[in-house]
Symmetry: D2
């Protein structure tokens, strides 16, 4: 109830602070006999890992995950899976000065107000370091999906950096591996590189928009009326650090449309299956998946860690100015991509298990 877990039937519970000895989680509800190795998880952790290029924070950690339980001879056993990552590059001294000074836009002040204490080192529990465990849980969720919904795939991309959106007509998934931004538009990626270099060198930061698409989603996932699939996705995405908005399908643009423009018409296909002629709905109607691509976008704010001094207060009630000199991400939206994919995977795995728990009879 104090908010450290996600999901109901596929559920994970995390612990750990940025500069404590380790972070970890327990993943619960995984069916038995699913193949799972540490390498399956490491693959996705490496995608999220910082310090891989000049556009992400230079904190360098191997983020080597250990499976402590729930897997035997390469297969899940149906029992809870314990995961652990030791923190190795903690450099506590970097953060000594924020002990008594609240960085504007960070969680420092509210944690102090709420709890009367906080592990201030590196942001403690509010650090994006926690998202490593989301990615680890997401890797396991993907294995569950592979086993129970073969053909389902999840891929995220960055579609806007600061004010610069991609050209959607140029979308090419193959481009993602050609740039450090998960950008599906080669031309935009090129422009972003220069743009972000300027931001980075000036010690500033910028926001972005991430889009996650799931294909091959079975029809019928979602638990109306309060755990609609879109409601749970909104919850999942908005729980990611720095996210300020979530939309499904046309999202906010749908507010400007007429019923005629927004209609996703249906036809019978030659294969006897229903086809939708468009996907304004983003793959969800009435809170239930339609089998179309599931399309979710999230707005990520710029990190508050910038070189320009900003007004703030300290623990003693003095007015102070704060600027951030150390390593940081100029555009945290980049690293939000694998995290958002992971949260999509966990949400779908949870709803897949939920759908099994309420079978329809013949």
């Amino acid at each position: 109830m104090s908010g450290n877990g996600f999901g109901h039937l596929f559920r994970f519970t995390t612990f750990g602070e940025s500069h404590g000895p380790a972070i970890g989680c327990v993943v619960d509800g995984v069916p038995a006999r699913i193949p799972l190795t540490e390498a399956d998880i490491q693959l996705y952790l490496d995608q999220r890992k910082p310090g891989q290029n000049r556009f992400t924070t230079q904190r360098r950690e191997p983020d080597a995950v250990k499976i402590l339980s729930g897997v035997f001879e390469g297969l899940t056993t149906g029992t809870s899976i314990g995961l652990l990552i030791e923190n190795t590059d903690q450099r506590s001294k970097d953060y000594g000065e924020i002990k008594d000074t609240y960085r504007p836009g960070h969680a420092d002040w509210v944690y102090q107000q709420k709890y009367g204490i906080r592990d201030y080192r590196g942001g403690g529990r509010s650090s994006a370091r926690e998202t490593a465990m989301r990615v680890a849980a997401g890797a396991i969720a993907r294995k569950v999906l592979d086993a129970l919904a073969p053909g389902l795939s999840i891929q995220g991309a960055m579609v806007q950096m600061g004010p610069h959106a991609i050209d959607r007509a140029a979308w090419d998934w193959a481009e993602l591996s050609n740039n450090p931004f998960w950008c599906p538009d080669a031309k935009a990626a090129k422009a972003w590189e220069d743009y972000l270099d300027t931001i980075r060198k000036s010690g500033s930061s910028i926001g972005g928009v991430v889009e996650v698409v799931a294909s091959g989603v079975p029809v019928g996932l979602g638990a109306p009326v309060y755990d609609k699939l879109d409601a749970d996705l909104a919850h999942a995405m908005m729980s990611i650090n720095a996210v300020k908005g979530v939309e499904i399908g046309d999202g906010f643009a749908a507010a400007a449309l007429s019923g005629e423009e927004n209609a996703d018409e249906m036809r019978m296909g030659n294969d006897g299956c229903v086809k939708f002629l468009s996907n304004h709905a983003g793959g969800i109607l009435g809170g239930i998946s339609t089998g179309q691509d599931l399309v979710v976008r999230l707005a990520v704010k710029p990190t508050s860690s910038i070189l320009t001094p900003k007004q703030s207060v300290d623990a003693k009630g003095n007015n102070v100015e704060v600027s951030t000199k150390g390593r940081h991400d100029p555009c945290v939206a980049i690293r939000a991509v694998p995290v958002a994919e992971a949260m999509m995977a966990c949400t779908l795995a949870d709803h897949l298990l939920r759908s099994l728990a309420q079978p329809r009879l013949p």
Copy 2:
């Protein structure tokens, strides 16, 4: 787990179909000795009630709520509160033709796929009629907030109809009672009236954007990291029928900002309290309320019930065309305003109780 409830400590569970004998809910977790009458709930139900002007569906029901338990001699007793509203204007015949025909953009087809059966009359469980129970629960949540967080107030407004946004500089809460749109901008309201009349007469529909603001929210609500206050609000709002996007504070606009632009600086006030100089964050940092105004916006799609025939399929696998002739809402965003307020109230009441359950020691 099948999705008919909302909240954890302040929790309500609803039941009922559009054209069944009644709808109802159980509200659980309400502290004892809070004054509560049916009139307290009816007040908000009347705000949501359809048929009050030409811009909402002409279904006419008194929506008279009965309290069946949990209140004794005008005070809550700490036990579960049962609420019931009988359905009186059911006109089942209106809907006979949709028994075997799936309306595009509605939940008809996915419910049939998921469950293999559905109460098709009036949309059954997927009908917006269910939102009456959200409003009823929200009224009780407000009483909880009145008792435990006096000074907290919640107010929603419509800030965009189709492509027409209000002028935010003209925002005047007092205008809400002067127009049928919960519009805080008198000039926009006037323009919307003509605009929506045209939509309505042509049998079309249009989307909109709703904004809900909570003032006087205590600092420290929210359960990081997965039940952040914004994550739970996103869940709450996205669970409302027809909502396709949710944003907090600057929301999607924040993606285009730099760290400098997005910073909410802090100063010590003369009263010894910290003041924020802006509110890009919408009252939430790190998933925890800052005490500033909580600002949430939701995108509402246009209803799919339109006069223009649209392509669809029927239960036998034939291609058909569907158009909706009966009563319907030309802009469902209007009636989403009291529902969104209710969901805000329930979310805050839940997190208020959660904060009591994890007190900080001296």
Copy 3:
């Protein structure tokens, strides 16, 4: 979280006080397309109904249940099922004198201490009247079991009245319908009749032991390690009014046994299935059902409503004496039988759905 619901995937939430306008519940998680009528539920409510003979309270209510939602044309729809029973025989005046006087052994005083208010009429929320909704939910759980685990049957019996236990060698299920005690031993039933008449006429009361047996339970139900099937059954049974003890299989007697005596040996049957040679374990090992008969016993205390004056206190802090003159049950264990059966059914339905949610892969 305030305790008005039971179960996780098959879940019901109840409301209502003894002398309020109605009692009701919401049953959630029922798979779609299960046949269900009011008569299916009424059948079991009639078994629990008071006033059927001289050995149960003379309160007379038809206890006619209404299904308000979740069923369409005779089949469940997968949505939440609302149930309602109106209270008709309330006789509030009977209970006026207990407004300010706490009956020893009842929940009056603790409810007042916990909530600072209580609906004192007929015990309010703490009344055994609430168990009607358990029986109603149990009837739906049985339909779920019929559909998903055909062959599973649940039957309760009374095996001890006061100090008088049945002769287990004489156990005959067919005897249950021949006496008003659910007693499987004809001779014991005869003796109990005289015994309880004496108790009843003297205005006294007596305890009893109820045993519930489920046959045909699938192997593999139970969610170790904290939601073991026996742990959830213990929870279910101990939540019934007046129950003070729960045991599985040999229960407390097992504490006196050696490992040799307690061993349930296993042999391969001619049909290729494993057979157990005894059932000390009561059908559960390691928290998981073995497929043997599930055997649960519960100790029911005597009701505190007796004619003999007992020392107590009143709301003003005076010492008083309390005796109960009105209608009451001389042996509440009798009516606990259908309630315990219902709780067994609900627990098994819940775990059956849980087992579906965590399938083992090939």
Copy 4:
């Protein structure tokens, strides 16, 4: 939902197998600013630790607990607390022979049936080794109780070994430290020593009964009607390995009493507080704590690991005979004492937080 966690507001989730690299848990919901060190937890782990005398299994592990998160500079921070104990004395070879042979009375066969796979080494997840994490969580629960309900104390004792019960008139808490059985009756302890030596030397085992008493419990804990304090305690205790029965207060003996005999009369004390003249109820009425001593007893079956060969089956469907030669506990009830205390502490901490979440207004 797969059963690896306990509690709602004070909640812990465990992972780990007997012979995996480590066991661990996440404790969630702990209020901030409670003093907590590893030594606070180690104190209770050492009480449970095997190998301390000849009456418990000779497995020797330091069971050294590490706090990985949620504590900063000696105080809890309100975030999730990660705990880890590395397994050091694993001796996998001891257990090789049970890979394909199901020990009667153990969970081997049902785990294999349920999951189609199991970590057979040392019982895997079903091993009593898991209870170390209960004790660790219980130690934290005690700190929560110390902070929020000062004066509350919890103490367990063994009151019956096999058929030999203690003399309750001789009860002396101080005796617990004078014998290896947590026995409060010096004479009984002496007799048990000889008795258990005989059992041990013959390679047999015996059951027992444990009683846990909590004093200084606040009035008003418990969430009727389904999460009654006794229902949650029954769940907690029955979830402990080898427990087959749970009773509160007089328990099964109450079934044989009359209403007159079972009555706990009340009087006003000179201090203006209500006094109970007896405690048949074991400190709970209507599911709510009365402030009297909370008295819970649990029946523990004899371990199935005995030297005498018993009939069983193997994985290939052959009939086999099984006997256990290695180290084991002749009376597992002994080590259940600190575990039962821990579960009592966790249940009370959970309900204490729940009571804070539903405050009664003036």
